[in-house]
């Protein structure tokens, strides 16, 4: 019975984890860059929300949109500083010497820039709110339903369904909507997109800001049930985001849900067996396993395949 309870608890994490992974995988699908400042930007938004909640006593419905906005703005900053040259149109036309620059140097530099910003934003947050526990608007309820021998918290269930629904809606939107088409086209082949009249730099920028905003929503989804945010949150978002996104395959939006479910269940069982250390070990372990199993025997920097569902 414990086994079933734990599996159920793990499955309820699928929605939130998928949402956490969404921003990261969308960002990769659009710009072909992994944003290591992902967690730190969400943390900035969360800390801003906490500050508004504690200092100005704002209610939930006012704080949460501000969190999303702050995270989106942080994303804009990250894109401007770290990923400005993903518009490969002119690069593919100009004869660039690969001897001096190295074949994958731009990707390495972008990765390095993004963790530099991670450092920046994380310390900024800790300076803003130096305490370890910072209150966040709480919408959790202690209500618990019983499904026979199993316990189920309705607030977690609703959150899971809402989060999963949002992920599926975004996955559908990007494939059916005209702007979604433009984003996918700009990501798929920037030069062809330019020639079709798409404004590639703007599409890439605002697409990335959208992905960032979604990570702000994810932060709200997670923290609103916790009621508090700690300095560990940045690393937590990055860790779960990387795991959820990469287990299902970077850029694969529909794969997010099953990989998040797998992650949640594995963690729940690992925690029961090995405690909180086990939980984190399960996350990293699954991620590592997924990376090893997915390894394409290619010499290219990033796996092929952009945004797909």
């Amino acid at each position: 019975m414990d086994f079933l309870q734990r599996t159920l608890d793990g499955l309820l994490e699928a929605g939130p984890y998928a949402l956490v992974g969404l921003g990261l995988t969308l960002g990769f699908g659009l710009l072909h860059r992994v944003n290591l400042a992902y967690g730190a930007s969400a943390m900035l938004g969360a800390y801003a929300g906490s500050w508004l909640h504690v200092r100005l006593d704002w209610p939930v419905w006012a704080v949460l949109p501000c969190v999303v906005l702050a995270t989106a703005l942080a994303g804009l900053y990250v894109q401007w500083l770290c990923f400005p040259d993903t518009d490969r149109a002119t690069g593919s036309v100009q004869r660039a010497s690969s001897v001096v620059s190295g074949a994958d140097s731009r990707e390495v530099v972008a990765l390095a820039s993004s963790f530099a910003v991670w450092m920046q934003l994380e310390q900024l947050c800790v300076n803003l709110l130096p305490r370890h526990l910072n209150p966040f608007p709480d919408i959790a309820s202690t209500h618990e339903w019983s499904l026979g021998p199993l316990g189920l918290r309705p607030d977690r269930l609703v959150m899971c369904i809402a989060a999963a629904g949002l992920v599926m809606w975004v996955a559908r939107w990007i494939h059916t909507n005209r702007t979604g088409l433009a984003l996918r086209a700009a990501a798929d082949h920037p030069l062809a997109a330019h020639l079709s009249g798409l404004r590639v730099p703007q599409l890439q920028r605002w697409g990335f800001v959208l992905a960032s905003g979604l990570s702000g929503v994810a932060a709200c989804a997670v923290l609103a049930l916790e009621g508090q945010v700690t300095p560990m949150f940045g690393m937590w978002m990055l860790m779960k985001g990387l795991a959820a996104a990469m287990i299902g395959g970077l850029g694969n939006l529909r794969g997010l849900l099953w990989s998040a479910a797998l992650l949640g269940v594995a963690e729940a069982h690992a925690q029961a067996l090995f405690g909180p250390l086990g939980r984190d070990a399960a996350t990293w372990g699954l991620l590592l396993l997924a990376l090893l199993l997915r390894s394409a025997r290619k010499t290219s920097w990033a796996p092929a395949g952009g945004l797909h569902a």
Partner: protein, 316 residues
Amino acid sequence: MRDALCASEPGIGLAIQMIVLCLVALSAWLVLRVGRISLGQQAYFGIGGYCTALLTTVGQWPLDIALLAATLGGAIAAALMSWPLLRLPGLHYAVASLAVAELFRLSLSGWQYQVPGPSGTPVGPDGVHGFRDIRWLFDHQISQFDYLMWASAVLIAVVLALVALSRTRLGLAMKMVGHDETLAASQGLPVHRLRLLATALAGAVAAFAGGLYAHQLTYIEPALFDPMLGIHAVGYSMLGGLATPLGPLLGAALDLGLLEATRWFEGWRMVLFGTLVAVFLRWRPRGLLDETLVCRLRSAWQSRHHTVSTAMADQS
């Protein structure tokens, strides 16, 4: 490592910390040289620290032998870990190295092995609290100053060795792999093996740094080798420049220099350092001491040498 850096003791303590950071930076640099970015060098730092500490406290080995053994251990661990990982594309390798390092850190957080120490109190790894009472330096009355001299000598030796390596055919092969692995493979270079060698060396250097640090600090805990350490190491290399082993040293010096300079901006070091790295990478992707600058410096040096020697020849 964050706290340790911020709470630096002035003078000698800071100098030893600087040497440790330089070594970890060199470790990240070695991996970058062969075209891979490793976010997990902190794992070998931790392994080196724990290994050395175990050997000196529980095994009562002399420090230099213990460090040697730990360095070897670091190399072997790095080779074992990298062997499956190096087949991954670069981006996956970066994330995988982070995952491996975190798994190591979590396992060491959960490891408890306490034995009665020489003074009666229990010593050994104590889970999350880490490994305390690493008192070898005090027990053997080695002054901080002597330790600093010895550590500096080792650092200089490592840098000279790396410079010498880069002049050999092996060093050149590694550089080629780093610049363009497809081209290198088509020239017949064993790319995977060369990368493996570089990561083993990197693991060795990081492990040595860990052992060095553990004995200076008299303790080592998992929180010290969190992802920020590895990220700083890569940051130093990328900021300082990838062309020579002096690049990472420059990067480390800039960071600790900033630390000292901004004592009154306490707690903003990472904001400033992060800004520096991100801004520099935007306009100088290969760092401060990049290949073009090194080339220019070298030719300027050579031409001055030439004019001096011709001037002297003319005079005589």
